[in-house]
Symmetry: C2
Subunit: 435 residues, 2 copies
């Protein structure tokens, strides 16, 4: 029986047009991160499972991780997220390097998921983190970078918004409703899914938490808050205004900046039971057919604890390639990547052309010209459709006459300008290409 | 107990200086491949083990592969090499796309190895392949690309050579020595390791093959051949000159080209029992302390057979990042990657600077300037050492006087030129940076 030609379930083959599209996304990631002075890092694809046990949620370990025992009886996993690796690496070197530490990476990650729109088993994730920045400046810079990144694709406030909340605030509100830690845990879970389930179901589950009537009313009011001002009023009412101090600092710094127009408070953003301890945020697509998070992140007081290292505050976000591409496509912001681009198609119409032009093709490449060398004679009338197909801007032709004259015809396909240049006048050929 | 901070055995953490070095290698890979009109592709990290069973050597499957059963009872492996994935992808689409197909990729690969110099469990490999090129032109182009790639780092014929052989020739020589297929298999194994074991051991093993005396003598003579001419004479003597026809075609095409100075015949290059059916080659480091292969490849008549697809001839090479970096370092061809590079360090000496300059920093990034924004007041005398550390070419300063005048001082660190420019004259700031 012949083997299957399909890629493994939930993964993608990147044929050249697909890879060009992905490389376009990656290029913008590198560019945006580096414009903010972030440095590229990477870690191994495999980590010992212990690392994820210490840092990732239980659901991830139990249901979603790709783990196995290696030949040396080490229990390892293909990374399902980058943050544990990042924490391990920062723990290794943070004493020796100046703060703040600004790092980014674009790892591929594996999760055992039922493949569906926007969710695959293998995806790439743009991760940016900043450690040891003073005050709220790290949080502000991370949000700036995230917004700038999306602006780089031509997206603006009509396409996306940054929904934001603060875990300190949520913690103090929930602690004012109940002293039972388990109930608080349940409230987090409820908030997390509050947008995904009908209100009835939410109320039913809320009733089952055993919360008192007044607390239920407060919880419901919390879920209806829709602006920073409403939040601050609500906290005043509950005598919890101090809980907002940190968040207010952040808010006041960012309020004066041009990116503030992207920010909205959203009580349902809590980022599950992740590592976050400060602000948490998600970038939401504003397209009505695609109301989904395309990125999420937040601030954490101490990722290094599990390595017995002193506290080092940080903040970061992750953004997946699949959801990003969906977002860009649904707003018409994704360029056409179907066609390659080359500088020159070197063609010949007589068989001797191969030997006569092979060195020319090589020398064009040495001058940084993307050169596609036709490896067999190409009929004159086929040259131009071929050039079109491979995205060449210039063609070189070599027929009987050129062979006799030791020259080539070179043509600019946009301007239609053409010249006959002797083969030995290589500089003249380059000059024509650079015009 | 605190968790280990070390990466998994045989893998690397890429801290920013390490990643810059690797990105430098990758950048040259992309550049060289694209200059030859090769298109970037990628496949999934996981493939079903069946694929490797059909295509890779037994040793690889039994001893070196990272394989496990997924939660859906699929038996999968982390890719140990790219060629089977490539074959699968080409089998999927080759009927619909024009030939020749020129593809490249830079996948990370996993092999369960005992970590040692140049061999790690995780490495990246530059893979270039061309399918469906007429005659010997594909083989020539692949060798051209490989040589050009290394030349792009400043390497020349004093640093490396391309050792070449042809599997058709080796097959016909060995078949003339014995008709026993098992013995031929053993001879291949012997040739493969002939450079790594002492001559005595080689002779002993050769004696044990059961070859006749005259055949042993011929085999030994074969191993001593050291040039194309000697090879062709030897084949004539054995009445096998026809076996060299294909190879001679290749040789004659490449002989006229500038890259021919890199080529040498080597009888010990056979590339194990890989897929190759035509020419085989390895790039060897000429440094006496580092006589090792840094790349290998060859031509294959039909990779697509296992998918029940018609024959499609191809040729390609693989080149690993670890051996490449060793090669470049041992010849002093690796640049210093310890330091980052930025355009501007935006600093301030008064606390108000943060609010006043945050928007300036953001706008500099919008103008594609790599801008590191100091997130706290930086003493004047520390600004320049800080700029040096982060590789900034310009600094912006903002003290009491600038605050009062709503201006910044901007300084070019190379020319020492400096100017005071009002904050509202953003265009003037950009002009200064572009001078």
């Amino acid at each position: 029986m012949a083997l299957s030609k399909k890629p493994y379930k939930g993964t993608r083959d990147f044929l050249p047009p697909d890879k060009r599209a992905q490389d376009y996304l990656f290029e913008k990631m590198h560019q945006s991160a580096q414009l903010f002075g972030f440095e590229h890092y990477d870690g191994p694809l495999l980590e010992e499972v212990e690392l994820y046990k210490a840092k990732s949620g239980e659901e991830l370990i139990n249901d979603q991780i790709y783990s196995f025992e290696d030949r040396g009886k080490r229990f390892v996993a293909i990374r399902p997220e980058m943050t544990p690796t990042l924490a391990r690496m920062v723990a290794r070197v943070h004493r020796e390097i100046p703060k703040p530490i600004r790092w980014y990476s674009i790892p591929n990650l594996y999760r055992y998921e039922r493949p569906q729109r926007g969710r695959l088993r293998e995806h790439w994730q743009f991760n940016c983190d900043i450690f040891g920045a003073p005050g709220r400046t790290g949080e502000v810079e991370i949000v700036q970078l995230l917004v700038s990144f999306l602006e780089n694709f031509g997206a603006n406030e009509t396409h996306f918004e940054v929904l934001i909340n603060d875990r300190t605030i949520v913690d103090s509100i929930f602690s004012s409703l109940t002293s039972n830690q388990e109930t608080i845990y349940k409230l987090y879970k409820l908030v997390d899914k509050s947008k995904k389930i009908p209100e009835e179901a939410l109320l039913k589950e809320l009733g089952e938490t055993g919360l008192e009537k007044q607390s239920i009313a407060s919880f419901k009011r919390y879920l209806k808050l829709s602006s920073f001002d409403e939040l601050f009023d609500f906290l005043n009412e509950l005598n919890l205004s101090e809980a907002a101090d940190n968040f207010k600092q952040f808010y006041h710094v960012i309020e004066g900046q041009s990116i503030s127009k992207f920010l909205n408070f959203d009580p349902t953003i809590v980022r599950g039971l992740d590592y976050y301890t400060g602000i948490v945020f998600e970038v939401f697509d504003k397209h009505p057919d695609n109301r989904r998070a395309i990125s999420g992140g937040g601030a954490y007081a101490n990722l290094l604890q599990i390595f017995d290292e002193p506290a080092l505050a940080g903040v970061g976000f992750g953004l997946g390639d699949v959801t990003l591409q969906d977002f860009l496509q649904s707003h018409g912001l994704m360029p056409d990547c179907t066609k390659a681009s080359n500088d020159v198609l070197v063609s010949y119409q007589v068989t001797e052309g191969y030997q006569d032009l092979a060195e020319l093709a090589l020398n064009l490449r040495r001058e940084n010209k993307k050169t596609l060398f036709s490896l067999e004679p190409l009929k004159f009338k086929k040259v131009f459709s071929q050039a079109e197909k491979v995205g060449a801007r210039f063609v070189i032709l070599y027929g009987e006459q050129e062979k006799d004259q030791h020259s080539v015809i070179i043509k600019n396909l946009a301007s239609k300008e053409q010249e006959t240049i002797p083969l030995k006048e290589f500089k003249q050929i380059i000059k024509f290409l650079n015009k």
